[in-house]
Subunit: 499 residues, 2 copies
């Protein structure tokens, strides 16, 4: 074998290639979800599957394992040591799963996602049971293999695909805390809201073209640069692409511009996190996104924390009036802010307000654990979904499109993903509290549509660290406390009960 | 070693992967040219370069060479033997070029293409000299390496990247024949055209939205299915994607709908060729497109042969009137056909009529050979271009945007590509002559906008053969004669002098 420095350098070269492959996969995924004609589904599944296998082959090549074994962190600087830790984590996860399982899973994801689009359109859950069943079996096989290798449960192994180090044993008490807090809190908020009278809804129609222009303006205001980004449309808004080429999508509801407005702020938060990491670290594991909890914290910090404040509506009210020639009592700053922070029991997670959102996530968290461990059979999902909605939110969706067919995640293979939304919401509240306490300029600037002080703080304290620190460490260092529900609950009380 | 059948099967598996990689490269190229934000250029160059290198690594792996050496065509059926011949051709081409040269060339192509977009917009040839010079050096290095391995000239080695088996020694007499025929013929056509009086130009503006709908209708009429295709916009119309997911682009000139109309017919011809090959052969070399001569013959057969006939305008005239609310003397069938077949000396290749087009190609053929062998220095290209235009067509472009910056090819690394346009035009004339002679139903059906008989004939005689036969053999089998200029010249005489 060669000396240790060389082994580390070889690892950097190998992981550079792996990162580039991941980037191509992201672009092809974006294309599939945003613009691909439906007939391309089988060929795209083939492409993505082969790329996943090539990535897997590179990660599991014997030379890479030898180099990982040969390098000692003692000979590396702190950044290199963090990079090596990430390399090992990614490698260990990959070697746990055989290549043919990776290929079969990737193909099943692509095909099930396409079948879901049709089933959702037709409101026909029965049509998706078979492809979803096949995908679930493969997901379980992957979770089992990884769980054995990483010495954790099947579910935790899946969770860690999205959030390294996460575990049910940490999530359960946080979610129990929220589940205990929210029902009474929701009652209080709705009572107070009813007493104050409903805000006026701005009257549409709001033409897609005007919404498109507004979304562009909003994205630019928070920091997106259209030389390095696109905003397109898809059934389910999402963020993909690469840091220099962000691909975010929204959907335009001509009766309610709020959907696209909040989606573009949310997805821009994701894109800014991608863009804000150090360029020099671009193609190394330590330079990649830490995980979905921090990622989601960045989208929610914009969408829910910064952009539903009185300060934001000070600037946004004239912008919204301009966009739609809005005039009259529905278009006052006070009414628009009340409209943007109205709370209601609804069916759709992506349209949910921040008070009811955790209930949607807790439902999915419970259901996916039950499906994975076999306690809930797939054909029974619609009934279990509706029962859960009744228990947690007091409403029952009239059909599966508004119920268990609404989200892409399970149908695209993302099991264990949902908890990161609510963990991200908690992190967003905790980070925004820390940011605004540290720099009063942040909120003052947002009053004038200037997000630079906020983005500067986020780059310094969050984006710029890449994957150097585990999420919990980063949050503790930055906010002085471990991730908890306190800041989130304080935020909700302040916004909805003391407002 | 294992037995021969197994070696062949291993080869099929390997080449399947290679074909899938090529498909992903095609989608990423489409994205780059059609929709990518400019800031993504460097990252995309990195992605494409790594994918090219992975393709190259697979093609040059020692196991693959061993299997190619071990298999004997005697043990294979005719289809497998043709597939093996294609595998060997592709392999021999690849092993001639070292991987680092492939990577450097791919990166240089992506970056030079992006620089060209800016230089063209700014009409600043000097800005592109440096990136183009770097790309030319790498192109020359590749051509030299391949020429040595394949025992042909540097230029023929580049040509064969687009058309297997092509050589200057076949092209020169064909082009000399045309160069001798066309100048006098062009004079005769222009004299006759002047005597008849200019056709009336339909008066715009023609809104992009209406052109978009027309292009969709035209594409569907010739056989494209929008479940497996997209039509988008780009500066230079092109066709890419994969058979089940065609990606064609056009550009909308609001003063002249003819540009987009002819572009969509042209690019649809390419897409139909991709779509028309056997699905079972999809991921094997023998199932891929034969080469750019046949590819271009299929686009020109639609654009120039079938869709500038009186029969086509019988159906298309009311369609065009509908699209733009056209009315009056410019919108008669006779005038529209005369307008679609007007001939003039112009600057732009893609807008050229079929009479002057070969002159544009002959110019580029001569210039690229001169640049490759060093007889023409890059900074002298604009002057040489303008001199050549004067000699061949009698006009001099007023700026480089209308001159040597107009085409993407050289700037994207496609040296040796241009001759295939005119070879394709000759093949299109020869094939259309054979098709309409064999089945009179073809033209009768086009009168009613029914392209099924034509497409059936093309699938049977051209598309369905994939790469089973060399282009020359296929044309000889299908038309009874080797590829020559006779049918093309007869076609021009019939359309422009006996009309």
């Amino acid at each position: 074998m060669t000396d240790k420095t060389t082994a580390y350098q070889r690892l950097e070269t190998q992981f550079h290639d792996i990162c580039v492959l991941e980037d191509t996969i992201r672009i092809l995924h974006w294309d599939q979800a945003a613009i691909m004609p439906p007939g391309g589904a089988v060929a795209r599944a083939e492409q993505l599957s082969r790329l996943e296998v090539m990535r897997h082959e590179k990660l599991t090549a014997s030379g890479l394992a030898d180099d990982l074994a040969a390098v000692s962190a003692a000979n590396l600087d702190a950044w290199q040591a963090a990079n090596l830790r990430e390399m090992r984590r990614i490698h260990d996860k990959a070697v746990a799963v055989p290549a043919d399982l990776v290929a079969a899973h990737s193909r099943a994801c692509s095909l099930c996602e396409v079948a879901w689009r049709q089933a959702r359109q037709d409101d026909d859950f029965s049509a998706i049971v078979e492809p979803l069943g096949g995908l679930l079996d493969l997901t379980r096989a992957i979770g089992t293999a990884r769980g054995e290798a990483l010495d954790c449960s099947l579910y935790d192994a899946l969770l860690r695909d999205y959030e390294p180090g996460a575990s049910s044993s940490h999530i359960d008490p946080l979610f129990d805390d929220l589940a205990a807090f929210l029902p009474d809190f929701l009652d209080d908020v709705l009572t107070r809201q009813d007493a104050a009278g409903a805000p006026l809804s701005p009257e549409g129609p709001f033409p897609a073209e005007a919404q498109r222009a507004l979304c562009r303006r909003m994205a630019e205001t928070v920091g997106l640069d259209f030389d390095t980004a696109r905003v397109d449309e898809s059934a389910h808004p999402f963020s993909s692409g690469v840091p220099e080429d962000s691909r975010i999508t929204v959907r335009y509801n001509e009766d309610d511009f709020g959907e696209a407005l909040m989606a573009v702020l949310h997805e821009s938060g994701h894109a800014m996190y991608e863009r804000g990491r150090p360029e020099d670290w671009r193609y190394q594991p330590v330079g990649r996104a830490r995980g979905m909890v921090l990622h989601e914290s960045q989208s929610l910090l914009l969408e829910m924390q910064a952009c539903r404040t009185p300060e934001f509506y000070h600037w946004a009210t004239p912008a919204l009036r301009d966009a739609f020639d809005g005039d009259g009592p529905a278009w006052t700053r006070d009414n628009l802010l009340r409209w943007a922070t109205r709370v209601e029991r609804g069916f759709i997670r992506v349209d949910a307000d921040e008070v009811t959102y955790p209930a949607h996530v807790i439902l999915r968290y419970r259901l996916e654990k039950a499906m994975l461990d076999g306690a809930l059979a797939l054909p029974d999902l619609p009934v279990a979904w509706n029962d859960g909605m009744k228990d947690l939110l007091g409403v029952v969706p009239p059909d599966d499109r508004l119920g268990c067919l609404q989200d892409i995640h399970w149908y695209a293979g993302a099991w264990g993903y949902f908890p990161t939304y609510t963990l991200g919401a908690l992190a967003a509240a905790q980070l925004f509290q820390a940011a605004t306490a540290a720099d009063p300029e942040i909120l003052l600037s947002i009053r004038h549509g200037d997000f630079d002080p906020l983005m500067r703080w986020l780059r310094q304290h969050v984006h710029g660290h890449g994957s150097c620190h585990p999420t919990d460490d980063l949050i503790r260092q930055t906010t002085g406390a471990p991730l908890a529900a306190d800041a989130f609950k304080a935020h909700l009380r302040r916004r909805y009960l003391n407002g």
